[in-house]
């Protein structure tokens, strides 16, 4: 038990003094350092322009840093990353099953080989029975569920999410928050979650990294000590309110500290 807990908190990857300056001279990220530990639900919280999405893309390997080092714990490669975009980003010409199949298909898995994993995952995200549905026939929330299933179908160690629920209505967002927490506790992957919502970050994460803009940088880190599982009741608890107040304060400080 203790060894497992220890393993769960070992660093999975470290960003050391990561900087990113685009060709047009804009500095998106400056000397950002942070550690993602195994089993974390880590939120990157900040105003737009703070480089949180850039940080996520650098972790994913979609963008390379202009300064600093990205340290992966050994024995991890791209196969261990799942990515969820702000939009569901499903292929409109393919049905739900084929969309979720895609990452496995690209790795050479046939439809029959991949089917058990896909069906299991679709059940986990409450999309059983929608295998043959086309993306345009789904609601926004269901599209996002399909997108999450696709990201998890390769059983990644690290799930990167870039404001995945920002475009959804609040009721759908709450439900997806809970389902995501269930999945996370059940399958024990690590999450790095980009958001600009204080409430969402507090509800979901055990650690929040608050970022500041101009230039984008890590401002402060917060621990959210409330125990899991967190259910709907947590949203109305005084503890949650206090944590949100605290996080809001840090975010306000971060925005105040912006270089002008």
């Amino acid at each position: 038990m203790t060894t497992e807990v220890a393993a769960r908190h070992e660093p999975l990857l470290q960003l050391r003094e990561i900087g990113k300056t685009f060709a047009n001279g804009v500095t998106a990220l400056k000397a950002a350092s942070l550690t993602v530990r195994e089993g974390d639900f880590l939120s990157l919280l900040g105003p737009s322009g703070c480089g949180k999405s850039t940080a996520l893309r650098i972790i994913a390997g979609l963008s390379s840093p202009t300064a600093g080092v990205l340290d992966w714990r050994k024995s991890l490669d791209k196969d261990h990353i799942g990515f969820v975009f702000q939009e569901p980003t499903l292929m409109p010409w393919a049905n739900v099953f084929d969309n979720v199949w895609l990452p496995l298909r690209l790795k050479g898995k046939s439809r029959t080989e991949a089917a058990p994993a896909i069906h299991e995952l679709l059940e986990r995200v409450h999309l059983s029975g929608f295998e043959k549905a086309m993306p345009r026939e789904l609601s926004g929330g269901m599209k996002m569920r399909a997108s999450i299933a696709r990201a998890l179908v390769t059983r990644p160690r690290l799930l990167l999410m870039d404001e995945p629920f920002a475009a959804l209505d609040e009721i759908t967002r709450f439900r997806l928050n809970e389902d995501l927490l269930d999945l996370w506790q059940d399958q024990r992957f690590t999450v790095t979650f980009v958001t600009h919502s204080v409430f969402e970050s507090v509800y979901l994460s055990n650690r929040i990294v608050v970022m500041a803009a101009r230039p984008g940088r890590v401002f402060r880190e917060l621990a959210v000590d409330a125990p899991y599982p967190r259910a709907e009741a947590f949203r109305t608890s005084p503890e949650y309110a206090a944590l949100c107040r605290q996080a809001s304060q840090v975010l306000a400080d971060a925005m105040h500290a912006e270089g002008r």
């Binding site: 980003t89 010409w93 690209l106 390769t154």
Partner: protein, 283 residues
Amino acid sequence: MRAEVQAAPFIDREEAQRARNAKLERIGRWVLPIAIMILAIWLWDRLCVWYEIPQYILPRPGVVASTLVSDAPLLFTSLLVTLKITLLSLLLAVVGGVGLAVLFTQSKWVEMSFFPFAIVLQVTPIVAIFPLINIYVDNQTAKLLICSWIVAFFPILSNTTLGLNSVDRNLIDLFRLNGASRWQQLRFLRLPAAMPYFLGGLKIAGGLSLIGAVVAEFVAGASGQSSGLASRIIEAGYRLNAPRLFAALILISAAGIVIFLVLTLVSHLILRRWHESALSAER
């Protein structure tokens, strides 16, 4: 057992009006063009009678129809020749257009280097190029094919190139994240994404390949037994055989309409499950 009582759904006056309008529109969509067509043919017939127009200038519709029947063996053999050129050149246009488009998207440099040539071919009137083709190519069928192909392939090339490049950036990132090869990216992402664009180009190319085939035949001035509808028209023109001229014209335009309808149907069948253009306005 209780009898099922079904209350008539309550419909207010505005909804009833809307339903009536929709029904009228559905009927009108078919009835109106047909009625106008019949009216126009009737007027054509009457004009011929009222003004006693001689048959070699404007034949009456009935005469054209009977010519269509009596000259059927000649006209339909010619139609087959023209259609063969049309469909072959359309096929070659698809292969050439899509092939070149795929080549272009594999490398920006290839596209930059060769796209201007495609444009030059497109903007130069085919009638002006034809004498050259006539010098270089001996085979009559090949001549017509090349001519018709040059006219038809450009819309497919330019549309497919546009489509292959109009892929959701996030989906490209997703493919990169999953280590997709170039071939996989083309096969699973770019080609399906380009499908609506390609089909749009195909619809234009279908009409153009027929025009190309007819124009080519006109310029080639081909005659003889195995010649197409264009040569029948030229012949009939020389002989002041206006009824046959009209009959041939009707066949050409009917062929064009059929090609268009078939391609529209194909496009609808392929896109109906996912693309906005094929969705009915049910909401």
